[in-house]
């Protein structure tokens, strides 16, 4: 089972839910931090890291001794990563999406395979939790390939929790793709609602089941609740604002360790997730037998 924890708006408590849920479960679980631009889960989990792996993208370099300046590679490249002049061939590795097209079309064997470092993947553990995250190299623009590499570390058969990046564009899609359920963490404010609507549209585009966690549920107004009711999106958990939570978070500590009631909150959240998935399976089976 793969559960992704996402949110349109940043700073709503995604990482808090992901880390506390993983620890509260107390059973073998893997936590993949796919927010590779700003990975934070390790700051709260403090796993023992035991492996670090550089991640590269294959990019081309052109061998001037072989190149005939025919221009085929430039034509196939949709990302302007190659320029061919009458007597020179240039590549711009930082623009390359590593689609492999130029390698396929060059008939002169002039394409040399080079690498661009996009980040690292680190693996660690904390008790029964296996932890993996990616760190995008500062200055690197393309997060999705690194996110896909983090997800390739998934050990199937073990419950997987994915901490997704904020927003609704391609990095979120890369992180959430293939999940069984998406948990959207939001807050009941106008910004929270606006970004939630965008995130719901994105999750629905992927045709995945979803549920809400409303954090700081007693600030702001009721528009998020009304929206959820209107759209028939189940609210799995509401957490009121609590200064102690904010302070615990600021110090980098886990709620489940400082505030005993959080263990129950997280376990009830997990039950709701399981029930939703079970309900979804039943609905599907019923629809199938009809």
């Amino acid at each position: 089972m793969i559960i992704s924890i996402a949110s349109g708006k940043g700073g709503t408590g995604k990482t808090t839910i992901a880390t506390n849920l993983a620890v509260a479960l107390g059973e073998p679980v893997q936590l993949l931090d796919c927010d590779v631009e700003e990975p934070n889960a390790h700051l709260f989990l403090n796993p023992v890291m035991y492996r670090s792996l550089d991640v590269h993208l294959e990019v081309p370099e052109i061998d001037p001794a072989r190149c005939t300046y025919c221009g085929k590679c430039r034509e196939i490249c949709q990302f302007n990563a190659i320029a061919i002049l009458p007597n020179a061939a240039l590549t711009f590795p930082e623009l390359c999406h590593s689609c492999g097209g130029c390698f396929l079309v060059c008939t002169e064997k002039a394409m040399i395979s080079k690498n661009r470092l996009i980040g690292v993947i680190e693996t660690g553990a904390r008790g029964p939790i296996r932890f993996v995250h990616g760190r995008l190299r500062v200055g690197e623009a393309l997060a999705p390939p690194l996110i896909r590499r983090v997800k390739a570390e998934t050990d199937n058969g073990v419950l997987t929790i994915i901490d997704a990046p904020p927003g609704t564009s391609c990095p979120v899609l890369a992180a959430v793709w293939g999940s069984d359920l998406v948990l959207l963490v939001t807050e009941p404010t106008p910004f929270g609602l606006n970004d939630l609507e965008l995130a719901v549209a994105a999750v629905r585009e992927m045709e995945l089941p979803l549920g809400l966690v409303i954090n700081r549920a007693d600030v702001g107004d009721r528009r998020v609740h009304d929206y959820a009711a209107r759209e028939k999106i189940p609210i799995f958990l509401e957490i009121p604002f609590d200064r102690e939570v904010a302070e615990t978070y600021a110090r980098g500590e886990l709620m489940v360790e400082k505030m005993p009631e959080w263990r129950g909150l997280m376990l009830s959240l997990f039950e709701r997730i399981q029930a939703e998935l079970e309900g979804g399976r039943l609905r599907k089976a019923a629809a199938g037998s009809r």
């Binding site: 708006k9 927003g167 609704t168 564009s169 585009e205």
Partner: protein
Amino acid sequence: MHELVVLSGKGGTGKTSLVGALAALGRQQVLCDADVDAADLHLLLDPDILERHDFYAGHRAVIREDSCLRCGECLDWCRFQAISADFQINPLLCEGCGVCWTLCPAKAIDFPENLCGQWFSSETRFGPLVHARLGVAAENSGKLVALIRQEARQLAEARGLDWIITDGPPGIGCPVIASLGDASAVLMITEPSISGQHDLERIAALVDHFRLPSFILVNKADLHWPMARAIRKFCDVKGYHFMGYLPYTRDFIQAQVEGKTILEYDSNNQIKQVVAGLWKKLRQEIHQLNPPEPSKATARAARP
């Protein structure tokens, strides 16, 4: 012309609320919401949309079933696993690299342009606003950021406005990189938490890549003073301009609920003073760092 880009790395630190407050302080500016995949600034500024434009970027491949030979070559070529075993291309996974389209032996693949969103040119009570809405699960947010910043610049030039205030995207990836080229300075707003500090270090390192002057403000400072002070120290060590602390207050949210900037929501004088002081200091520092250039027209005229 000066462009101040406001960034946070981490989300939820109050970036958009701060941009709204800066907007409320002046009139001689163009506002630009470059947080294109979760744009919120319009919720505070209630814009009258004057122009809407579709934003096309890149392409998506589509297989024409009746022409496809089912040779299976494209499955091998596609590095993004976008083509299924029954020769359907998933538009959400297609990277738009065009390899299948170029190489398909039957020329059975179309490659239409991709509608990635919309952008708007609007008027608000604090001046013009250029903003956008990225399509659902769309790509090319970096290109959209570059485009609306360009539009904001042209608008500022056309109206003779000196400042652009840009609400930047979160993170450090493609849209953030697109928000930094040619900016005058970057204001980073963070919060005193272990993740706020961690994310600030990464975004500040990115801004250093661009050799832009960095100004840093700590919001919700009283939630954890030791960390707030640690961030101040970090600024001193790294040579970033530390701009001060803001207290934690629910007024930001209450103002948001009423569709107002914090400066129009009149319960909190302390915030008003800090923000007004901040803006004054920022303007002075940025003017000093980027002395006004001769305008393009005079520069052109001076050329032989």
